[in-house]
């Protein structure tokens, strides 16, 4: 079975937001084409009519809650992307170069995470573990119990594992894609294995994975609203709260969509800056 997973190449990683823009000169942006101006005017008119004709009087009452939700969404996103990436490096390394005893579990971990819906994983951890823990007195008595009773540790755990599963697969390809000559040169210089990893292998692998990392970060942002289903108050759950309180459906959802668009734009922008920092000609 594991041979099968090894041999099927599922992925050309989907770059959700391609950093390498089309170099086709015909597609280069020219904002002054007449149809673009008309489209922009139509867009402005839509936004304007949304502001004037829809109901926004609930907005001031929920200002604090929205800021709180926004903060929690961004916080969860940053923490899970960071922790998930830390976990993905050993996962990718084990699959790319590890002995079978490490490579096979790592591969199974990635397959299982990528083969089941995140919602299911989240509910398994929250309802499953959450119902299991109270049965053991030593857990109830431990220092961690106040945290384990809340929902956010489960949300962070599930999202971290999910990101690690997807990114572990990407890192496997990135580690395998570093040219052999680089590693052989490092070995010829007499570097220890850990030094090779730290100075040569990891930096080049990360550079290779960077465009996909941005796409995965956007995907991770799009997974964060799922934590609302286990009672974590994030940006999305504020919108459903408004809907329940005031029976206003569209306005909060539209605002929410706009909010996510803005955050996505910021993530793509940041990763583009990050990629420009690294010299781009690598062997």
């Amino acid at each position: 079975m594991s041979k099968l997973i090894a041999d099927t190449e599922i992925e050309i990683p989907l770059e959700t937001f391609p950093i390498h823009k089309d170099t086709d000169p015909a597609q280069r942006n020219e904002w002054k084409q007449p149809h673009r101006i008309i489209l922009i005017l139509i867009g402005l008119a839509l936004v304007g009519s949304a502001i004037f004709f829809l109901r926004w009087d609930w907005l001031p009452n929920y200002g604090d809650l929205i800021l709180q939700g926004l903060w929690r969404t961004i916080w969860i996103l940053c923490v899970t992307v960071f922790l998930g990436f830390l976990l993905a490096v050993p996962l990718g390394l084990a699959q790319a170069a590890g002995p079978a005893i490490l490579a096979i579990p790592a591969r199974w971990f990635c397959t299982i995470i990528r083969g089941t819906p995140l919602l299911l994983q989240l509910w398994l951890l929250y309802y499953g573990l959450g119902s299991l823990f109270p049965q053991y007195p030593w857990i109830r008595g431990s220092e961690l119990w106040p945290y384990l009773r809340q929902a956010w540790p489960y949300a962070v755990l599930a999202l971290t594992l999910s990101y690690a599963g997807y990114e572990g697969e990407v890192m496997r390809g990135a580690f395998a894609g570093v040219p052999k000559g680089q590693l052989e040169a490092a070995r010829a210089f007499g570097m220890r294995r850990f030094t090779i990893l730290r100075r040569i292998w990891l930096p080049q692998a990360i550079h290779r994975a960077l465009p996909t990392l941005a796409g995965e970060a956007v995907l991770q942002l799009k997974s964060t609203p799922l934590v609302a289903t286990i009672t974590v108050v994030d940006l999305y759950s504020v919108a459903s709260r408004v809907r329940q309180d005031t029976f206003i459906t569209y306005e909060p959802l539209l605002l929410l969509a706009a909010g996510y668009l803005v955050i996505t734009g910021i993530i793509v922008f940041l990763f583009r800056r990050l990629e420009r920092l690294v010299p781009s000609r690598l062997g």
Binding site: M1, L4, I5, D7, T8, E9, I10, E11, I12, L14, T16, F17, Q27, Q33, H35, R36, L39, T111, I112, R114, G115, T116, P117, L118, L119, L120, Q121, W123, L124, Y127, G128, S131, L132, V218, L221, K222, S223, T224, P225, L226, T229, Y236, A239, T249, Y250, L253, L254, L256, A257, Y260, L261, T264, G265
Partner: protein
Amino acid sequence: MADGSIIPEAVWQTLALLSPSPPGWGGNLLRGLLHSLQIALGAFGMGLIIGTLGAYGKLYGSPLVRDLAGIYTTIVRAVPELVLILLLYYAGTDLINRTLEMAGYQRIDVSGLVAGIVVLGFVQGAYATEVLRGAIKAIPFGEIEAARAYGMSPTLMMRRITLPSMLPYALPGLANLWLIATKDTALLAVVGFSELTLETRQAAGTTKAYFLFFIAAGALYLLITLFSNVLVARIEKWARRGMPSIREARS
């Protein structure tokens, strides 16, 4: 009952919850799985149609069409699926009912199945557009030039040249999309459509055997994934016949 056999007995009782007949919940899970598969298939098919149109629009359309397709793919890929599902689900059913009322007809209940297919298909279409656009751009340009030189009409060229020769380039991306479609059906649990994840949660909530049911459902999803992988590998082998294998092409 206090002898050594009590543990297998308890395990047996727990596992009996999975049996397909009424005291067990296996039947519900399988029904949920069927719904999930129906939605995933429908959404994937609709995504393919939208994606083909979108890719052609982006590559060959007028500047206006290109910009509209660009706006569509950018917005759909930047907003979480859950938000899109809620927006389209509420707004879509509301819009249909308002139009029907204005035209003087009765309100109708849009079935969850149809709504789910349309909403997920709309989301899939954006990703499929990008996959197919990339695949069409990967076709050696001489093939298309040759077809034009023979005077083929655009539809004939699409049927005979573009679609068949883009298939090997598109397959990995499309396989990925299919897996995403099967997993995205779980999101419909949030709007209350009884697909696999929601059925699982109901079963788990009623019997309190959370681990058992969630792991069983996970195994079902995993089976779909592994089975799809095998199938995709065969299709890919067929589509790439006569071309160098992926490994040879890379080296």
